[in-house]
Amino acid sequence: MRKKLLFLLLAIVVVCSTVGVAIAAESEPSTLAEEGGGAEGFYTCTVGDYELTVNKSNLNLSLKKGDIEWTSGKLDPDDAETNDKNIEDGLYVMYRSFRRGNSTRYDRPITRITTQPIREREFVERGDGFDATVRLTDISISFKVEVRLTGDKLSVTVPDSSIKETSAYKLEQIAIYPYFDSSYQTVEGGKIFIPDGSGALIDLNTPGNAQNEYSQRVYGNDIGITAPTSRANEPHRITMPVVATMYSDHSTMTVAAEGAEYANITAGTSGISRIPYNRTGFRFIYRQEYDRFLDSKTHTNDFQDERNHFDACVDFNLMSEPDVNIADVAALYRDNYLDLDKKKVDNVGMRLQFLMADNKPSMFGRETVNMTDPDFVLQTAESVSYYCKGLTVAVTGYQRGGLGGSKPSVFPMANKAGYRNLGSRLAMLDVPFNFTVDYVRAYDRAGVSNANLVQNISEQFVVLNDTRAGSTATFSLLKPSYTAKLLKNDVSRLDGYNAGLEATNLGGLLFGGYKTEAFTRTDLIKQTVELVKNAGVSIALSNPNSYMFNVMDSYIDTPIEYSAYLIETESVPFLQMVLGGYVPMYSTALNLDYTGTSLTLRLIDSNVYPSFVLTKEDAIELYGTDSQSIFTSSYEVWSYTVRQTYEDVSAVLQNVVGAQIIRREKADGQEVYINTYSNGYKTVVNYSSQPYVYNGVTVEAQSAVAVQ
């Protein structure tokens, strides 16, 4: 009996302890509640010319090289307004609290979450940096930070495997040294670079009146989670995970070296969000809010359950030279982060894309509207190649029935013999020939099986509206496996056409897929790179993301300006500085936004070759089709402008074919830009209404010249 009682008592004790431990684990796991004092004081190490000092309590760090100092969370001695804690910490964590049944978001520096987030014994000195485990015991989240100084580069990594969390609190974002190399109030000669469009500078001496921080997702939003937007003239997508802060005595180029597909670029000038510091950096997204659909219309707000898995790594490339030029930043980015092979570029190029056919509703189904035939394309190419040696020809809407509702592949083709002949004749003229095709989106009218379509996190098929004005078409996203199948199938059937591919959206539209054949953004990057790399055919990509730069053959739809956010002060051709001379870059179709001379000047300034979308018939015939946004395209109408634009661009850019921009300057107080190229030539572009004299050469108003 006593034994039974003892056993019962023991059982009760065991059960109570287990429950107690479980409850404790729910609120504060034992692993995070280890004993040990908080880290205090500073750790200093010297690597090469740099001296790295870190405050062990909040990971605030500084780097010194001679008289130059880089700090994270720099506090100006004159700044009495800003709370130290708000901008001093090295890391900032956004998390969700699910306690008491409510979901509440918090965004705080680590020492505001837990007073002593670093234990003394968990701060490990490494000689070239340090490792520290951040234990946010108040919210039961911990992760490791690895900081290494190599040469001129400070790398900060948060390994995915080190992140621990519980169900009561969920990690949403981590900002890694967001105030690294920030500056206080206005700074003469100070600039922030952000990769918006072709690139944009924020002048820190004349801040704009933006009310919000610049905040954009690298490689665009994940439409597998958030609903796609369908606005015309959307801001440019971020295609390169690089930002920079530039001052008169030093600069920093910051790159999301790993986990860029989950990174968000932020930038703000003094005063925005009541923070008197100019700053830019990366936040890494581990979870997002999304609309969970209960049926086709009703939805409820939900929060991503599964965390995004990736190693977050930010490289701070330290540039100790004074007056660093934006071209220096571009060169550093290209040399250290892109493994580019030089493509053959012998002449100033021009791309002519021909719309062959589309269709529109009629009384009895849909009526095909034939706009161009292969013979006309050939005749045009022959006449244009007479003056343009770098001509590239592409065709779209060549499928049976025209462009609208076509299958997401090159085949079935409307006139195989015609295009075979066109391909062979263009090959004789040495004019590259491409079929434009979209392997990422499929028209809903194309009848692609649901099994091949991507479902979002809410397990709904992703529907994208055609953003072209007047079009009512909708698209669905294709699974990467189906994309690969379509492309491989097309390539195998393209023999005899002497043609390559222009793939729109491939390598540009980045998303994750859920439910069956689930994949992440990281998976899609790997698959797309491999697919294009091993395609066995020349592939041009439309405004692709940086991970495609070394596998594509040419770059089409190149942005030649920024998005003109109020925070931005100047558009710079950073993208062209990175890729110029390595791959040919063609603009978007100029005839649809033809602003005349200013457009030609912008092309020259950006070192981008012109592109036109053309037809044989008048564009009025396209009214009622999904392509009615092409409101002017007849070659008869545009032939003169095509030639004139090419000749204007070619006259200047032929001197710098294959060369890179190594310096960009703006003439004092004038809208005149001087780009210096690696072959010694300079292009001088005068946007102003007054003539400009450069080294004895008069550059007329609204004109451009090349000088050596």
Partner: protein
Amino acid sequence: MKRWYIVIAILVLATIAVVAMPSIAFAVPYSTETVGPEGSIVPTQTAYTPTGKTILPGTVEDTVPEMDMAVDEDNDSIYIADPITQCVQVLDIDGEEKILDGTDSSVIGRGTLSKPTGVAISGDWLYVADETNQKIYVFDKTTGELRGEVGRPDNPLVGAETPFVPQKLKVDNRGNIYLVSKGCVSGLMQLNLQEQSDGTFTSEFVGYVGANETESTFQSFFQNLFFSKEQKELFLSAPRTPTNVAISSRGLIYTVTNNAFQNTVKKLNTLGNAIMSPSVNYSNTEAISIDEDENIYSVTSDGHIAVFDSYGDLLFCFGGEDIDERLGSLVSPKAISVLKDGSLIVLDSKYNMIVRYERTEFAEKVFEAVRYYKDGLYLEGEGLWKNILRLNSSFIVSYKALARASMKRGDYQTALRQFKLAEDKAGYSEAYWEIRNDWLQKNIAWIVSVILVLIALFVVWKILDKKKPKLLAPIKKGAGKVKNVKIVRELLYTGAYFKSTPDAVYQTKYHSATSVWSAIVLYVWFVVLQLLSVIVTGYLFNNNSVYNSNALRIVLTSTAVLLGLVLCNYFVSTVTDGEGKLKYCFISFIYALAPYLILALPMFVISRFLTYNEQIIYDVMMVVIYGWSAVCVFRAIMELHDYTFWQAIKNVILTVFAFAMAILFIIVLRMLVTQFFGYFASLFREMFTNA
């Protein structure tokens, strides 16, 4: 210059065409639209590019102040009424602060103004409307010195209950103030302001102009229909108060009534009557500005800028609500001004800044061409319009202008095509009349000959029929055989419905003069006629476009309506002592439409040869056809169900009502079924998600 520069500097090649464009055009965060085919809004080349911004003194507030702006280019000044800083800020045209003459200040009215919300320039004076002080202040525009003030007029015509809360104002060259007084439903207050010899000002109330009419809505229609007098008084709706005003250089007054359903912008003549409203009504228009050619530039509260020509035709619309903080997008625009060079400046009170837009080369061409068109110089502007079409094939205004030029040249065929593209049916009719006239003149001889031959053949036939009947016997016999085929005979029985519907129905009911099969053929013909009405009817009389019509939809709709009405009529008749069986309802209903079935197609064909000059012929004929068909159907119902006149009337009304109820029932049923399945789908989804 250093020598080595001279030595190595090589001027290379290109100097690109010079175009006046004073600064770099920024990226354009919007698409530009215009009116395209069939009145649709279509994209076009960028007309204006944002070229800069000026941040105004003061801080950005969370609230959106009711600011205003007046531009005086001759004096190189921009005046901005700012209720937050309680003064008028003065800038030069480039956006730099402008110091007033004899002072060290760039503000006017500090200490005097409480809530300046409107500002206007005329002559040497700056007029400011102050909502809080309920006064109009007059300042010297160069020194900022206060010269006078105007309070509520004491004229009895103003009305004791009429509020005097100056909000916006404009002043013409003769010193007439056109004032928007908040809450004043009588229109703009017109005050005449005169400077006295002692330097003071006197004001005289002249009257009200530009009052709006009470808007008629669907709701107000039903209220008027069913409400008692007392109830109507409770819901009495007043006309909307104008919210802004503009004056052109020719002294024409324009009013803006924000959130009006129609006529948001009105152009008034000297009598105060509306003589023009823009073709496209942007109900949320905030402010407008008029250029020297009377083109209208409007800005809406959601950030769109729309440009209309002096006829009210939309030329461009661009912009849109700013959700990204991009230059060129607007959040809370309050005023717009067009400068002499055509560039625009817009005051955005949310960002406390003014944004500048400059015309592109394309827009320059359009405005120049519009000027020619307005002056009736069609041929002179032809080249420009052609250039515009090169840049946008869908620029419909161009086709209208080119068509006028073609008409003037006598090239009516081209004009016809251009009028059609321009959707200008009146112009099309004119051109077609000329072409038809020309054709008739050329071909009148053989037309008359053909007619004479046909008459001769008819006469010969009649003579032969009388004198030599045997000669025509084989033909008549053949025709008789065809007529005796059952289905043909039954189809030809439609003629009997023409002549006497009751007798024909009687024959159908009791002697099987027609059958279900022949009725089905006629139903099919009716549906085919619906298709032919779209395809065959002439352009001038056809309200449907082939491209906007779907054959399947037409077939299903017309079949459903016909059969629905037949069924409803049958069911109604069964409960209202009708005698007709469903079979005879089915047959008689379509046979009774004989006038339409027989005459519609010829009218569709004839309409192809008519112009608007002969519209009366077409209209009368169509009324006859529809009216005759309606009478036949009515008489068929009477005979079929053995109704009296009033019973038949009641039956028709109930049939229509039953048909409407059936449609309503189907709609409700569809909604219920959708919601039923949707509910269970979401329930299961929620269960699986949370499981």
